[in-house]
């Protein structure tokens, strides 16, 4: 039985949740632990925190968020942003996170994925990929790093396959073109990855409503559906998404 997960994502900047459009124009969206607690009560299946500044001076603030979350919320939560070493991952996990999400550092040094997976298990390693449509790669999508600021010339398809080979337990795939636009997930991009990788795929970037969420799983082949702004600004609740997924014939927790 394949059960689709609904995952609110909290982009954290200096201890606050923020949300932008196409990775810029950030707006404040609240306290991360409070929001996580609300989503937990709504029945979210997991929570993801991404520290989008990930500068050294914001680390302590992030650690505090992770520690407070672990005290209050008993569903899986993933933390990403600025994790560059096994020791960084250990610190985050020791504070109570269940998984770490690797992005830029993994592109720069793919062995980081296997290092973390060997130490803590594949289930602990989410490889987050930010990509956008591009004519420069064979699959039509190019991987970006540094919060979407730097193109790598890497093909999404090749990088996703390599990440899985190195030990990624999940792929969190964000469409930069769709991020914050509410135009729906980039279905073609999701299919590019879901058709070739064996590990669970988390769809991200562009969900504007419950129907978009359902399409991510039905058409894109995603196993989990992530959204940020539509949850934070009260446009959609987790139960509404759940209802829509059920209506679309998908299986979700609690039904």
């Amino acid at each position: 039985m394949r059960v689709i997960r609904i995952i609110p994502c909290l982009d954290v900047d200096k201890g606050r949740v923020v949300k932008g459009v196409n990775f810029v124009d950030l707006r404040d969206a609240g306290d991360p632990v409070e929001l996580a607690s609300v989503y937990n009560q709504q029945g979210a299946d997991e929570i993801v925190f991404l520290d989008i500044t990930a500068s050294s001076d914001s680390r302590e603030t992030l650690y505090e968020v992770v520690r407070r979350t672990a005290e209050e919320i008993f569903i899986p939560f993933t933390v990403g942003g600025g994790i560059r070493s096994v020791e960084d991952a250990r610190q985050i996990l020791r504070l109570g996170a269940d998984k770490v999400s690797l992005n830029t550092a993994a592109v720069l040094r793919p062995d980081l994925i296997s290092d973390v997976a060997n130490e803590f298990g594949n289930q602990c390693v989410v490889v987050a990929i930010d990509a956008r449509r591009s004519d420069t790669t064979s699959c039509g999508f190019e991987v970006f790093t540094h919060g979407g600021r730097e193109g790598t010339g890497l093909s999404l398809l090749e990088w996703a396959q390599k990440a899985v080979e190195k030990g990624a337990g999940e792929i969190l795939l964000t469409s930069m073109d769709r991020d914050g636009t509410k135009d729906g997930f980039d279905i073609e991009m999701l299919k590019t990855v879901s058709q070739v990788t064996s590990v669970p795929l988390i769809a991200s970037g562009g969900a504007g409503g419950a129907k978009d969420m359902a399409d991510g799983a039905l058409l894109g082949g995603a196993d989990a559906l992530l959204a940020a702004s539509i949850f934070h600004f009260g446009e959609m609740t987790v139960p509404e998404v759940r209802k829509e997924l059920l209506k679309a014939g998908l299986t979700v927790r609690g039904a």
Binding site: D45, A70, L95, G121, S198, V199, P200, G254
Partner: protein
């Protein structure tokens, strides 16, 4: 004052054990992570968590010199001694071995081999799933209304007479076992929201009844 049973969580240098400790505290225990044998032996109950590969967990138990103690505590629990809860790979370790790490010995309390999940499904199972079980068992009492729990695993123990809960993933997967005071779950109660906390409370109740 209400009784807060003490629970010692085997801290043997693997993965993220903090979440198990936090959830046990939330459920009402005095919980601590420790590799100190005397503390493990003196606690009202013990928890053996485990994440990652079977072989790595078994080796880590050996390296931290806790393998023999874990085996003897699990064996005693199975014959009515101090309650013992294994979680995820901590459940798999109770068996003889696992196809994931051929040649590595488990604790051998349960006489089967852990095998890869079969069927046309993504591996690992990383999702919530619904338990099918006997809700009258002390581990599962009170969870009838929402028996959804969180799994992360690519291997599972075969169904045996010790199995008390299952989930449907490719085939019917063994989700929990119980022999006397030896309990184990393939899923993560510490990550399964209120249902998981209820299961941990049931474990704490076992500690209380064991004490009185």
């Amino acid at each position: 004052m209400t009784f807060r049973p003490s629970v010692a969580v085997f801290d043997y240098g693997i993965g993220n054990l903090r979440s198990a400790q936090k959830a046990l505290e939330f459920a009402g225990a005095e919980a601590f992570l420790t590799d100190d044998k005397s503390i493990l032996e003196e606690a009202d109950g013990v928890v053996l968590p485990g994440v990652g590969a079977f072989g790595r967990c078994a080796e880590a138990l050996v390296e931290s010199d806790l393998f023999v103690l874990a085996a003897s505590m699990a064996e005693k629990a199975a014959s009515g001694g101090k309650p013992f809860l294994g979680i995820c790979v901590g459940m798999q370790l109770l068996y003889k071995g696992s196809d994931e790490s051929v040649g590595v010995n488990g604790l051998g309390i349960l006489n089967s081999q852990v095998k890869a999940i079969e069927g046309d499904v993504k591996i690992p199972q990383m999702q919530w799933n619904e338990l099918k079980c006997d809700f009258t068992h002390p581990m599962l009492k009170g969870i009838e209304k929402n028996p959804w729990v969180y799994f992360v695993h690519g291997y599972s123990a075969p169904k045996t007479k010790e199995s008390i809960a299952f989930c449907d993933y490719g085939t019917e997967v063994n989700a929990a076992v119980a022999v006397n005071n030896l309990w184990a779950t393939q899923f993560h109660p510490e990550k399964s929201g209120e249902t998981g906390i209820a299961i941990l409370r049931n474990f704490l109740s076992l500690l209380e009844s064991d004490r009185s």
